[in-house]
């Protein structure tokens, strides 16, 4: 019995330590990962360059933080101002647009309002709202939407609640509570079947959601930067961009390439 146990332990250890291949560490946001886009486009990169892409999905705030620690080769995130600041501070070597879609307000019912300002007022006066509250790209954007329309989040009453969780969890909570929330369209569509939510308000112009790729400054880590360069060039290349445009779910194109 003891021998079997020891042999099993050794086998497990070998199994866990045996994986060493050329790999690229891509840190991205949960919205990209949850949408299934990466599973759709990454295989063609792996095939072309014979590299294994390790995808870590966290909020944009955490992604940038990991980037600062040098725990990433490339980032694929969506908080334009923070991204530019990140590159200007020297943590990132370069940044480029990759694709966009839009943010939408979702809730139990469609709102009859026609402008963003009216929608916000309608929610303030009549409904409960879940905010991500986690420094993610979506949360950052939500805060700036309130602010741009003259509202101060700190003054909001108990109808405004911060979940501090990812987009998927927050959407599930929104659905269960019958509240409203702001989400990116891709995550919403990818979870549509499990949600009791409809699009309450959409406005692709004002609520545009831009994704960008950042190559981490190679001085901050000791990994092979060749793959990072390859990935950076690959994702903004024309044929990859076309591929992104062909990713369709529930009859809707989820991301619009614009590198």
């Amino acid at each position: 019995m003891k021998k079997v146990l020891i042999v099993t332990m050794i086998l497990f250890t070998l199994l866990l330590s045996s994986c060493s291949r050329d790999e690229l560490l891509l840190v991205t946001t949960t919205s990209v990962e949850n949408s299934g886009l990466l599973a759709y486009i990454i295989p063609s990169f792996e095939e072309e360059y014979d590299v294994f892409v390790k995808v870590v999905a966290v909020g944009t705030g955490a992604a940038l933080e990991l980037g600062k620690l040098g725990e990433a080769d490339v980032l694929l995130v969506h908080a334009y101002d923070l991204e530019v600041e990140f590159v200007n501070d020297g943590y990132g070597e370069k940044r480029n647009n990759v694709m966009y879609n839009d943010f939408i307000f979702v809730g139990p019912n469609e709102l009859t309002t026609t402008t963003l300002a009216d929608t916000l007022n309608e929610i303030i006066n009549n409904y409960d709202f879940y905010s991500r509250g986690d420094n993610s790209g979506t949360h950052t954007r939500e805060l700036s939407i309130w602010e741009q329309n003259g509202h101060t989040v700190d003054d909001f009453g108990s109808w405004y609640k911060e979940t501090g969780q990812g987009m998927g969890s927050t959407l599930s909570m929104t659905s269960l509570s019958g509240y409203y929330t702001l989400t990116d369209r891709a995550t919403y569509l990818s979870m549509l079947e499990n949600l009791d939510l409809v699009i309450a308000y959409e406005n692709a112009e004002e609520l545009k959601n831009q994704y960008g790729v950042i190559k981490i400054n190679p001085e901050s880590h000791n990994r092979n930067e060749l793959f990072a360069d390859q990935f950076y060039d690959w994702i903004i290349r024309e044929d990859t961009q076309e591929l992104i445009g062909t990713y369709i779910k529930y009859d809707e194109q989820l991301f619009f390439p614009n590198s």
Binding site: A63, L64, E65, G133, D134, K161, L176
Partner: protein, 227 residues
């Protein structure tokens, strides 16, 4: 980063930020209440199971021992399904009550399991002696409880540690809502997801400090316990 975080922990504690103290207080309150409830019912259940003879005793014990290791997030899911299903009318979702229920159910098997083990070990000699001395069933049970008191205390501590440290269940049924259902562990999970690692470590240190103080108090309360 560790030194920086330790300093942040001290800073956090002495900042007297009401949000931090609310979070710490809520953590302690829910976990203590849950452990107390689970301990009360768990002790009774454990002793009853260990001293009675019934058909499915072995099977029941196996079930209890299995549930001792149930992942908190699975228990959270069970409670979530219950309060959105059969108990939908009680409006428990994303409330402190839901967190209390989930933690109680999580701690219960730990108490019951430990009581069964310790009570089965001690009961033979005690009950024989007691029977010889002419004790009735009620006396036997109180005697047994007295005899395994250190073990009860130990399982209560184990249960409390489990309740205080779990994150999966409270996250799922509580929702980690700011100024409402956010506790220490979900606060740490949130800060991890934001990349605020030093805040996480700071709160982690506070969590450990609380555990240390509690155990010190308990050791004093029962001096022989740690010998």
């Amino acid at each position: 980063m560790i030194i920086e975080s330790t300093m942040k922990a001290v800073e956090l504690l002495f900042s007297f930020d009401s949000e931090i103290y609310t979070i710490i207080f809520l953590s302690l309150a829910i976990s203590l209440l849950a452990t107390a409830t689970a301990s009360f019912f768990g002790t009774i259940l454990g002793i009853l199971i260990s001293i009675s003879d019934f058909k499915l005793k072995r099977f029941t014990k196996k079930i209890v021992f299995t549930f001792m290791g149930i992942p908190p997030v699975v228990m959270g899911l069970v409670v979530l399904l219950l309060i959105t299903g059969p108990f939908d009318g009680m409006n428990l979702l994303f409330t402190k009550s839901a967190m209390y229920i989930a933690q109680t159910l999580l701690v219960l098997p730990i108490i019951v399991g430990n009581i069964i083990i310790s009570s089965e070990k001690t009961q033979k000699k005690i009950l024989e002696t007691a029977t010889t001395l002419g004790a009735n069933k009620y006396h036997k049970i109180t005697l047994l409880i007295k005899e395994i008191k250190p073990f009860i205390l130990m399982s209560v501590i184990l249960g409390f540690s489990r309740a205080l440290s779990e994150v999966g269940a409270v996250m799922l049924v509580g929702g980690n809502i700011k100024n409402d259902t956010r506790v220490m562990t979900t606060y740490i999970a949130l800060n991890n997801s934001m990349g605020e690692y030093s805040m996480s470590i700071a709160m982690g240190i506070i969590l450990l400090l609380i555990a240390f103080v509690l155990h010190t108090l308990l050791a004093r309360f029962r001096g022989d316990f740690y010998d």
